[in-house]
């Protein structure tokens, strides 16, 4: 295989994999004669998506921006909290169990309470997206910090660097590969958060679309909504991956060279 073929195959792979999966699904639907109400054929889902692209797009954009805001908040807060947890054993031991406890609780149970305080609309969606997605960021940033090579720390200490300087000059870059790994998880969770909140209350976003479609057994539309979420998720991921390439090249140097 030449380098060029390799390159082409790498770009084609996601499309091939996706096409393969959808084909399999389509075939399974036909062979097992799955009723549409259970799981519609992908072809039918795309039909709906094309038919109603304008409505879908409107709802998608509503979800997308609440998600994006929640996600950005999660990054900011998650990184700060991760730094605190990773830097101080006291914060670690005091906060980690609480964080785990909070995150093990299904957010569906919390969102209705949130809505009562904040009313329905974009705000609870943003907050849910934020609240559900910051935890992986905290964990990974904290782990990135805790696994700093002591040699690096000594370099900084020998310069008389403050705890904060060690954190920003060694901790943050060191934790970058961990951070980006967590963003991939966090972005999917942020979408889930937005959609959950939209399902619980309000009349906006893909979540509402799916709720109302579900209430009338319109599973083709429900699935069109799911596909739309999936596509948005992949787009957000691609954005993160782009930033990752630029910012953590050093950590992936093994891949670049060979």
């Amino acid at each position: 295989m030449t380098d060029r073929q390799r390159q082409i195959l790498l770009v084609a792979m996601p499309w091939l994999a996706m096409a393969g999966l959808l084909l399999l699904w389509e075939l399974a639907c036909i062979v097992f004669d799955v009723p549409e109400i259970l799981a519609p054929k992908p072809s039918r889902i795309f039909e709906v998506m094309i038919q109603r692209w304008d409505i879908l797009l409107r709802y998608c954009l509503e979800t997308l921006w609440t998600t994006a805001i929640g996600f950005v908040l999660a990054i900011g807060f998650g990184v700060l909290l991760g730094l605190a947890v990773g830097a101080s054993p006291f914060v670690y031991s005091g906060l980690y169990p609480l964080l785990i406890a909070f995150n093990a609780v299904p957010k569906v149970a919390i969102v209705p309470i949130l809505m009562i305080w904040l009313g329905v609309g974009a705000l609870p969606a943003i907050i849910t997206a934020f609240v559900i997605s910051f935890f992986p960021i905290v964990v990974n940033v904290a782990t990135g910090l805790a696994t700093i090579e002591p040699e690096m720390r000594d370099v900084m200490r020998s310069l008389g660097a403050s705890q904060w300087e060690i954190l920003t000059k060694v901790g943050v870059p060191r934790a970058m590969p961990y951070l980006f790994a967590s963003l991939k998880v966090a972005v999917t969770l942020a979408f889930i958060g937005s959609v959950i909140s939209e399902t619980v209350g309000g009349n906006r976003g893909i979540g509402f679309l799916m709720l109302s479609a579900g209430a009338r057994n319109d599973s083709a539309t429900t699935f069109a909504g799911l596909f739309a979420i999936a596509i948005m998720g992949v787009l957000m991921y691609a954005a993160c991956a782009l930033v990752e390439r630029r910012m953590t090249r050093w950590a992936f140097r093994g891949e670049i060279v060979s």
């Binding site: 370099v155 020998s158 008389g160 300087e165 060694v170 870059p173």
Partner: protein
């Protein structure tokens, strides 16, 4: 000297009093350094030699406060050392450059962290970059500032690490085998560079090395350490005139000192 006068050149800058250090605890406890007592005057250049694993790197970390002693006391500027002291430049045994910074940015690091450079770092960035470029050129790495450390050869990394220790013109310089990965000529060139710097700035320096000629060429005092647990077994004042040149290394006096040291270390290998 009246007691009211501040301790100055008369009290040594660094004092080690029966310092010992043990790594680990319980059954895995291992004594790395035992009863090390030494004084380093301000502006003195000392060298430490001794067999591999005898505690030389440990000694350096004790002096700079990176490790707290298990016993005894370390004083710098007359004050007991409680944590990492300020104003040191340290070239560790491994290059420990940060892989996410270019070589230039690695060398700029001390200027971002150490006062007074830190304060004016942003304003004087261009000037500092120029300083780094000059330093890089002086160790034969001109033009490599843009490379990442992992794009440099072993010897080049070591030289970059040396630059990082020098760039902020520290009062105390700790060099742990700074020339170990270099060929003889580059190394001897750098001896000259090092000595010139010292003559100009008169910083206090501690050099760990395995090259006895290097030790004698550069140092005012050479300390020989025993096998682990390291103790200081010989102190040798080098009274050779400065500046020393490569010619000096061929003089009988120089060769004799090296020979004496060699003999003493040999005893440790018996």
């Amino acid at each position: 000297m009246t007691p009211s006068m501040p301790a100055s050149t008369d009290t040594p800058l660094v004092e080690l009093r029966k310092v010992s250090l043990a790594y680990g605890s319980g059954p895995s406890r291992m004594l790395a350094l035992e009863d090390a007592t030494l004084d380093i005057a301000k502006g003195e250049f000392i060298a430490v030699v001794g067999p591999s694993g005898c505690g030389k790197s440990t000694l350096m970390k004790l002096v700079t406060g990176l490790l707290p002693p298990s016993g005894g006391e370390v004083r710098v500027h007359g004050q007991p050392v409680k944590g990492p002291i300020r104003g040191v430049g340290m070239a560790f045994q491994a290059p420990t450059l940060m892989p996410w910074r270019t070589t230039r940015d690695n060398i700029l690091l001390p200027l971002e962290v150490v006062e007074p450079h830190k304060r004016r770092f942003r304003a004087n960035k261009a000037e500092y970059v120029e300083r780094v470029e000059k330093l890089l050129a002086s160790v034969g790495l001109g033009g490599f500032g843009d490379k990442f450390p992992w794009q440099l050869s072993g010897g080049m990394q070591q030289r970059s690490s040396l630059c990082r220790a020098l760039v902020h013109e520290p009062e105390i310089l700790m060099l742990d085998e700074p020339f170990g990965a270099l060929d003889a000529f580059t190394r001897e060139e750098l001896w000259g560079v090092m000595q010139a710097l010292w003559l100009e700035r008169r910083f206090t320096a501690v050099l760990v090395t395995h090259d006895l000629r290097e030790a004698v060429y550069l140092a005012d005092t050479v300390y020989v350490m025993s096998r682990r647990p390291g103790r200081i077994v010989k102190i040798s004042k080098i009274e050779l005139p400065r500046p020393r040149t490569l010619e000096t290394t061929f003089t009988a006096e120089f060769v004799d000192i090296v020979h004496d040291l060699r003999e003493r270390i040999h005893m440790e290998h018996a």
